[in-house]
């Protein structure tokens, strides 16, 4: 339920497979559960497709999260025409549901809450006359000579761009265990969507699986929303996220159980509880250490995977890099992939967080500027400064894995 998966598919006004997590409520809307294969929708139930528009632009940015927004602002600042495509009706990506204050420096909105950063960047984008924003629109394919196909609810677009920046983000990982299909088991991002975007408390008694920053932060937010968090499980021998985020939940009495994992979830038609188990250093369950925890919400915060499909389809050379969360496109230091003119920024380059996504967005934006306008002195200088800053930023010891992964994904030059 972060606008990416099929978990929230429902039949809306006769149309099957609608992602309800990004479907705005409207007067008279009819929402039905769907199970099995749906009927073909009747013509009157499908929104009218009003033909196709061909757009020629300088830069096409795919994805309106922190990376895409910064890329858009950067390219537009240099006078380029930009088309920004976003699947959600709101810009901001996952920032729109982040209610905690961000780390970083003042210049990169550190200290602001995530949704405030989203509001700030979206407003700036909306004020630019040379940016065309297409919300509720999906980029479905990248074709030869940088033609891209887009589909909105009522119109198709063919866009020809001189540079493309792919900033499609990431998807939440799921975990296999008996009972994981019971209502009440969900990704941590899904719980944030319900709670922080739509004001619905997803559960009263919570068990969180995973102590990375997402698991710690969402547990804290559930506590703020009035839920009781029974425990946070961590399979590794140390806490995954920053110490300060862990300290925030610990001082309100939420236990973080290291070397523990979830064995199964049980309940009649919905989650009523879970069995947890201690693990050894090889992550193997230790017999007879099982414990039962009653809960009605099991949060899975077990990492993210870069949303790489569009890049793979475009023919970018990909590599499986576990430190970055899975399949990523190889890229040079200017964030250009092996498909000339296609740049990447944000979680699609490897799982990190919003601040690095914003810096990468700026770098990719400048690379697009240089691609279109040539090596303008100011842009080249600004880009070098940002690359140096990003390197410094990633020097934090806790980020050593990411640093290693980023090295593996780097290629010296782009052929072709």
């Amino acid at each position: 339920m972060i606008g990416k998966c099929s978990s929230c598919f429902m039949n809306v006004d006769g149309v099957p497979n609608v992602r309800t997590c990004i479907e705005p409520v409207r007067e008279g809307i009819k929402v039905y559960r769907q199970s099995g294969l749906p009927d073909v929708p009747k013509p009157k139930e499908v929104e009218h497709v009003g033909g196709e528009e061909v757009i020629e632009t300088d830069v096409l940015v795919i994805g309106g999260g922190p990376a895409g927004l910064e890329a858009t602002l950067t390219a537009a600042k240099y006078g380029l025409n930009v088309v920004l495509v976003n699947e959600h009706f709101k810009l901001g990506g996952q920032l729109v549901k982040q209610t905690h204050k961000f780390f970083g420096s003042k210049e990169l909105f550190g200290g602001l809450r995530g949704f405030q950063i989203a509001e700030h960047l979206s407003k700036k984008v909306s004020e630019l006359p040379n940016v065309k924003v297409l919300t509720r629109t999906t980029a479905y394919g990248i074709f030869r000579d940088l033609w891209v196909g887009l589909a909105s609810r009522d119109k198709l677009y063919r866009v020809k761009a001189k540079a493309i920046i792919v900033a499609t983000g990431a998807q939440e990982n799921y975990l296999a265990f008996p009972g994981n299909d019971l209502p009440g088991v969900m990704g941590a991002g899904g719980a944030q969507t319900l709670m922080n975007e739509y004001g619905i408390l997803p559960g009263e008694e919570v068990l969180t699986v995973g102590s990375g920053n997402v698991g710690l932060i969402v547990s804290y937010q559930l506590l703020q929303a009035g839920a009781k968090v029974k425990a946070i499980l961590e399979i590794a021998p140390t806490i995954g996220g920053w110490f300060v985020h862990a300290a925030k939940v610990r001082r309100y009495g939420i236990p973080i159980l290291i070397q523990h994992t979830i064995k199964e979830v049980w309940g009649h038609e919905r989650v009523e509880g879970a069995t947890i188990v201690q693990v050894d250093e090889r992550f193997k369950p230790i017999p007879r250490t099982e414990r039962e925890v009653t809960c009605d919400l099991v949060l899975l915060a077990v990492g993210l995977t870069p949303d790489h499909t569009l890049l793979a389809q475009a023919g970018a050379k990909m590599a499986w890099i576990p430190e970055l969360g899975g399949l990523v496109a190889l890229r040079n230091r200017y964030l250009e992939t092996t498909v000339p003119g296609v740049f990447i920024a944000g979680d699609i380059t490897g799982i990190e967080e919003a601040t690095t996504a914003m810096i990468e967005g700026r770098i990719a934006g400048l690379s697009a500027v240089i691609k279109v306008l040539g090596p303008i002195d100011e842009a080249v200088k600004e880009r070098e400064k940002l690359i140096a800053f990003l390197e410094e930023y990633r020097k934090a010891p806790v980020l050593s894995r990411t640093r290693m992964g980023m090295k593996k994904a780097l290629i010296p030059e782009i052929r072709g």
């Binding site: 110490f243 300060v244 985020h245 300290a247 001082r251 973080i256 410094e392 934090a396 806790v398």
Partner: protein
């Protein structure tokens, strides 16, 4: 790789660890009046506290440094308490004889009010009794709440809970 600090397993930094890391002000400074205690032992890419401090008492060489506090410049005003994104800064005042004051960040409703008797919590979430709220201010929905506590609890109380 060196030994993993225990706070990475527990989520709790102990007073001993804070002392070893040089994060606790010396006794004579504590007696002089309110002073910030920055419980931020990890190199986080963040420097919000440096800009937050009106006395310019916090410094950092690079964005991934841990913050360094000049205890003599610090006035214990609490601006860093409300502005630190990690909610990792507290102010302790041990200048009075029979009572101490601790300022903690707080992001829960109901809003704490001066005069409220609130539950005092330690770093482990253990209840340490009740304390009276003597000062509250807010920045961007984070409250800095100062509570009166027994002096022996000044290094233990790190959160409050307002009963609904």
């Amino acid at each position: 790789m060196g030994e993993v600090p225990s706070y990475r397993r527990t989520g709790i930094v102990t007073v001993d660890e804070l002392k070893k890391l040089g994060l606790l002000p010396p006794g004579e400074r504590l007696k002089k009046g309110p002073v910030a205690i920055i419980e931020c032992p990890e190199k986080i890419p963040c420097n919000i506290c440096v800009d937050a401090c009106p006395s310019k008492a916090i410094s950092m060489e690079s964005i991934i440094d841990t913050p360094k506090l000049d205890w003599n410049k610090c006035t214990g005003c609490g601006m860093c308490v409300v502005l630190c994104p990690g909610l990792a800064i507290f102010v302790v005042d041990l200048s009075k004889k029979d009572k101490a004051y601790v300022t903690v960040p707080h992001e829960f409703l109901p809003e704490p009010k001066v005069g409220d008797e609130v539950i005092l919590l330690d770093r482990d979430g253990k209840k340490l009794g009740k304390g009276k709220v003597v000062r509250v201010f807010e920045r961007n929905k984070t409250f800095a709440v100062t509570v009166e506590v027994p002096p022996e609890l000044a290094m233990e109380v790190r959160a409050i809970w307002v009963e609904k």
